[in-house]
């Protein structure tokens, strides 16, 4: 039997990795992958708590989070394609018409 703490620790670690990925990676696609990682660590926390509390609400929430993540990825990729047609790049540092 794995303790609740282990699940929470694992999800906290994946969440932090995701946040660091969003903040430091320069490729737009990898940034979106990092965001998926964040959302999946949220799912892990929810499922762990749900099992611990014996309450199905958390597992239901996970389905909604998954749907939201899919919708976000779809819109995000569409935006990346629109941008790529204009700039021919996915590097966030080169996407800099707008600043300060």
């Amino acid at each position: 039997m794995i303790e609740l703490e282990s699940y929470l620790l694992l999800s906290a670690i994946t969440f932090v990795i995701g946040v660091i990925g969003v903040l430091t990676r320069r490729n737009a696609i990898i940034v979106f992958m990092s965001i998926e990682l964040m959302l999946n660590s949220v799912n892990l926390t929810l499922v762990a708590f749900s099992a611990f509390l014996g309450d199905p609400t958390g597992q239901m929430l996970v389905f909604f989070v998954m749907t939201v993540a899919a919708a976000e990825a779809a819109v995000g990729l569409a935006i990346i394609i629109a941008l790529f047609r204009n700039k021919q790049t996915l590097n966030i540092d080169e996407i800099n018409i707008l600043k300060w």
Partner: protein
């Protein structure tokens, strides 16, 4: 079960109307390919009808769909603010160069606008963390798409990408906060959370971390520092109509959701010896001090950076960040008076901010530029526009006799009543800074000659009529404000809170 759902549906008419209008607009876009004006008319009709239903809900205080949504004076107030601004945005779109030159995609534009309005309506009423996340995401996803609507323009798609990256990051943070809160309390309904927090022992530090994570989600929606980075870029890159809508309605929806979440979840209903109209947060959890710090940072940074801007849309973006800071002051004081002041400010802000953006749009249509330098001599090229801009900017600064003064006055009175004097001083100093950059634009309009010898600018009658619809309330509410104050005082009531 079925009875309950049917009963709930009858209390859900404003939102249902928008869903129906959204579907009809999509179909009409496919069917009437020759005459896309039908989609515009349909979406305008949809929003107006949903507003009428929202007016009908006045005075109700109940929860629908097993506690998912609350229908109370508070949510009705915000639905009306959001609906009215949606009506104005649809009217603006009729004359927006960005929208009217993309004939083929106009149907999508208006149907997405309806979906965006629906998302904000849901945000205003959401009473469950699940519903809050879904409403927030519906609003965010549609605004990402609309911000990049003119996708051929490099700055528009860039704005869209920046928006979605910041937005997805903040909603990820917020979801993580929500998962922790769920773990701590075992509830997702905000009333359930309140019950669990006030009866059970909860680890305070964990709760604090979770709340800070959730504030990230709200802060991004109301563009509070340090979650504001997307605001200037998106405001500059997006079509002006969308910028205006995001600056008013999206902020209103974010505030509605944030106030409801904090007030209901962390309300301590066992404290008895409080003056009437005040409420208190649970022991050991002073969420309002976090918001006070955010408020000071937000207004100071917004105003200071606005001073350096040369693009008027970007200047208004920083000004809208500063206004979010002012409105946060009203939430910090934990009193009905402060809350009513925020609501009054939103009514006022709706007219003055939409007015300023409308003028930016009209000028950009004629001159093709949003630079402050292109406003040189505009006061002589079009006196009506010049005078209107003066009034909107004076109102944004908060000087009498305009509506902006009333908004600020009530905020400061609420602050002083609750003994938050240092915060009031910071707010007043910030208003002084804001005068500088607003006046810089006005100086260009009236005291500088046009760079080239360009003729006067004329506008059609409907364009002037829309301008007057925004201008007259801005002046009128500065002198005759009793109705808004009464309405706001009656609208602070939330379902399930004494």
């Amino acid at each position: 079960m079925v009875d309950q759902i049917l009963e709930s549906l009858s209390k859900f008419l404003p939102e249902t109307t928008l869903v129906v209008a959204f579907c009809l607009a999509l179909i009409a876009d496919l069917v009437f390919r020759k005459n896309r004006g039908i989609v515009t008319a349909l979406s305008l009709l949809g929003v107006v009808v949903s507003l009428l239903f929202a007016f009908q809900q006045a005075g109700m205080s109940l929860s629908v769909f097993s506690g998912m949504m609350a229908v109370d004076p508070f949510s009705v107030f915000f639905k009306i603010v959001i609906g009215v601004s949606a009506v104005f945005i649809i009217l603006f779109s009729l004359y927006s160069h960005d929208v009217q030159t993309t004939e083929r995609r106009k149907g999508e534009y208006f149907s997405l606008l309806l979906a965006l309005t629906l998302g904000m309506y849901l945000m205003a009423g959401a009473a469950n963390l699940l519903m809050m996340v879904l409403a927030l995401e519906l609003t965010s996803l549609t605004s990402y798409i609309l911000a990049g609507y003119t996708k051929e323009a490099g700055d528009s798609s860039e704005a869209s990408l920046k928006y979605i990256i910041y937005g997805a990051l903040s909603s990820g943070l917020m979801l993580y906060g929500i998962s922790i809160i769920y773990g701590l309390t075992g509830a997702t309904n905000i009333y359930g959370i309140n019950e669990a927090l006030s009866t059970g022992e909860v680890n305070e530090i964990t709760l604090l971390i979770a709340s800070v994570l959730i504030i990230a989600g709200f802060g991004y929606k109301i563009s509070a520092v340090p979650f504001h980075f997307w605001t200037p870029d998106v405001y500059e890159g997006a079509p002006v109509t969308i910028t205006a809508f995001l600056s008013v309605a999206s902020k209103a929806a974010g505030f509605a959701m944030m106030i409801r979440f904090f007030k209901v979840s962390f309300l301590d209903s066992n404290v008895v010896d409080l003056p009437s109209g005040m409420w208190s947060s649970l022991q050991g959890f002073e969420w309002n001090s976090i918001l006070a710090v955010l408020s000071v940072l937000t207004m100071t940074l917004g105003n200071l950076v606005a001073v350096w801007q040369n693009n008027l849309k970007r200047l208004l973006a920083y000004s809208s960040i500063a206004h979010a800071g002012y409105m946060l002051m009203g939430v910090v004081v934990l009193s009905d008076k402060g809350l009513a002041a925020v609501l009054i400010y939103f009514v006022v802000y709706l007219f003055m901010n939409l007015g300023a953006f409308y003028i930016v749009m009209l000028v950009a249509n004629k001159t093709g530029s949003e630079d402050i330098d292109s406003y040189k001599g505009l006061g002589y090229r079009s006196p009506l526009l010049g005078v209107a801009m003066v009034i909107f900017f004076i109102s944004l600064t908060g000087l009498p006799p305009t509506a902006g003064f009333i908004g600020k006055l009530y905020l400061f009175v609420a602050l002083l009543d609750a003994k938050w004097i240092w915060l009031a001083v910071v707010g007043a100093l910030n208003s002084v800074i804001s005068l500088y950059y607003y006046v810089r634009v006005l100086r260009n309009m009236f005291l500088r000659d046009p760079e080239k010898d360009s003729g006067s600018i004329r506008f059609s009658v409907p364009q002037v009529a829309i301008l007057l619809l925004l201008l007259v309330p801005t002046l009128l509410f500065g002198l005759y404000f009793a109705p808004i104050v009464d309405w706001a005082n009656a609208s602070v009531i939330m379902f399930g809170v004494r």
